[in-house]
């Protein structure tokens, strides 16, 4: 797609056998880097993005002209200090920021793949991104870091490549997507599919966009990223630019107006089919089942040092699910730290200015970096 012609990408020639059975090759993988790779290539960090993130984690996203999604954590002098570390972030396959995704042209039909795009998994995403280590000729990463779906990719990465990262920081995630989270994702998908413009996924060839469905999906999801206390504190029952209720279905309340706004700006930067494919990948993620009900087995061969972080008000990926990963690692004597950060900002806490969280990441990275030096 032409709007992505100036962004960094590799064309992965090596065939990748997807979990669904199909094999892909010669596919684009878009990425961005921050900081400089040092002489012995020991300072590289691979960052994995969450559902609606992309490779532009820091600075300004050149496509959307918005701030990078992890500006609080990533940049010069920040917790993940790009004066010190070389950070690589890729757009997941299935995404819509230049990597192989459902709006790419299918060479067989000369039309966008739409829902003919193969169903991908977290495992497929990680295996595709592993090619970046070969591209940069990095033998071993200093760290793999990610929150939410990014955290699932961290777990999958260490499981697939047990000796390719010195440290790993899975944040606000799970080893097995819960029924509640599958349900919430299904709500979003059904909202998109209920939009007439969706056209069974072939909306692009008809110059249509299921914007309404995608906006509602985003509104619903956005609520799950916040907490009840956070919402109450920020919005309460405050009215939107009016003194009294209007006895209509306008956005009387600030929270309504806020959600409508979040929905409307989201459709400008995100593709509806990508939303379907990526939420599906999250739902299929079950590292516990993959290892016969024993999560410890996923990490048995690994020498990676873990630090796991959860947030008190995160009800989407609650502390208990993060702690299950800690328990699995302790059960086999692996090196793991764990902190539950106090925050009323819900699941979104990992994207926001939460000082205890940012200090935790900074200190763990600094101490670990001294150990390998």
């Amino acid at each position: 797609m032409s709007k992505f012609k100036d962004i960094k990408k590799i064309i992965v020639e090596k065939p990748l056998k997807l979990d669904c059975g199909q094999t892909i090759n010669n596919y684009p993988l878009a990425y961005e880097t921050y900081g400089k790779l040092n002489g012995d290539k020991s300072n590289a960090i691979l960052i994995f993005h969450a559902l609606t993130g992309d490779q532009f984690a820091s600075g300004i996203n050149p496509i959307t002209k918005k701030d990078g999604w992890w500006n609080y954590a990533l940049g010069p002098g920040k917790a993940i200090d790009t004066d010190k570390y070389f950070v690589i972030a890729a757009n997941v396959i299935g995404g819509c920021m230049g990597s192989f995704g459902p709006s790419d042209i299918n060479p067989a039909t000369k039309k966008p793949y739409g829902t003919n795009f193969p169903v991908i998994t977290i495992n497929d995403m990680v295996n595709a991104q592993y090619n970046l280590l070969d591209h940069f000729k990095i033998e071993k990463l200093f760290s793999v870091i990610g929150g939410s779906m990014g955290g699932m990719q961290v777990l999958q990465f260490v499981s697939n490549f047990p000796n390719k990262a010195f440290t790993a920081i899975p944040i606000a995630c799970t080893a097995s997507h819960s029924a509640q989270n599958i349900a919430l994702n299904e709500l979003g998908r059904q909202s998109i599919m209920a939009d007439r413009n969706w056209q069974n996924g072939f909306y692009e060839e008809q110059n249509k966009q299921p914007d309404k469905g995608l906006a509602v999906a985003r509104m619903a999801a956005h609520i799950t990223y916040l907490s009840k206390a956070g919402l109450q504190e920020k919005f309460g029952r405050k009215l939107q630019e009016r003194d009294d209720l209007r006895f209509s279905f306008d956005a009387d309340f600030q929270i309504e107006s806020y959600l409508r706004y979040q929905g409307s700006v989201f459709v400008d930067r995100f593709d509806a089919n990508s939303y379907l494919y990526i939420t599906r990948a999250m739902d299929y993620f079950d590292l516990i089942k993959k290892f016969g009900g024993n999560l410890s087995k996923a990490f048995e061969r690994s020498d990676t040092k873990f630090f796991i972080i959860s947030f008190t008000s995160d009800w989407l990926y609650p502390t208990s699910e993060n702690r299950d990963i800690v328990i699995a690692l302790n059960a086999i004597g692996k090196n793991v730290g764990f902190v539950e950060i106090s925050s009323d900002k819900g699941h979104d806490s990992f994207l926001l200015d939460v000082p205890d969280f940012l200090n935790t990441v900074r200190n763990f990275l600094n101490t670990s970096y001294k150990e390998i030096k």
């Binding site: 800690v326 328990i327 004597g333 730290g337 764990f338 902190v339 935790t360 763990f364 150990e371």
Partner: protein, 184 residues
């Protein structure tokens, strides 16, 4: 740093694998990391203490020793340290069993209720003893299960737990703290 911590650290073998249960703000862990063994981590309940450990660059697991020790396999540490926390647990017997299961050796310290100051306090004042090592009043103390060095020795003897110290009679009167190395 507290003198107690130097005495505990002295008992830890160089480069051994260590778990500090109830590691507080990480002061002891930091000392051991810098001087004795880097292979150390702690468990701590209090969020502010956990952050203090993180600030020191220590590996800490936020958790509750009464519930979370069971996740560690048998003999997974050379030393498990428990400094002045045993008496505050709801079920100290269970915690001691867990320490001896997951550690090849356990280093346990307790405030000694048999110290002469404590005995005199109760004898002459007739009120619950308040000392440097037992600073709280009866109504706000976290200590649920106070014991003396002699009580602790008896406890270990009854359960065939090896205990290292000599001169326990003397210690029971003159030491404000008991520091023990235990083995199954």
């Amino acid at each position: 740093m507290k003198k107690e911590f130097y005495n505990i650290a002295k008992l830890v073998t160089h480069n051994s694998k260590v778990l500090d249960v109830g590691c507080g703000n990480g002061e002891l862990m930091k000392y051991i990391t810098e001087n004795i063994s880097k292979d150390i981590r702690g468990i701590e309940l209090s969020k502010s203490n956990v952050q203090a450990c993180v600030e020191k660059g220590l590996t800490v697991i936020e958790g509750n020793a009464e519930k979370d020790l069971k996740q560690f396999p048998d003999n997974s540490f050379d030393f498990v340290i428990l400094s002045q926390t045993l008496q505050a647990f709801l079920d100290p017997e269970n915690v001691l069993n867990e320490l001896l299961r997951i550690g090849k050796k356990a280093i346990v310290s307790i405030p000694n209720f048999g110290h002469w100051k404590v005995r005199l306090h109760l004898l002459f004042k007739g009120t619950m003893p308040v000392t440097e090592n037992l600073p709280n009043e009866w109504y706000n103390t976290p200590n649920l299960h106070m014991c003396t060095i002699k009580d602790f020795e008896n406890y270990c003897k009854e359960r065939d737990i090896k205990i290292n110290l000599k001169n326990l009679k003397f210690q029971n009167f003159f030491s404000e703290l008991g520091i023990f190395i235990l083995e199954k």
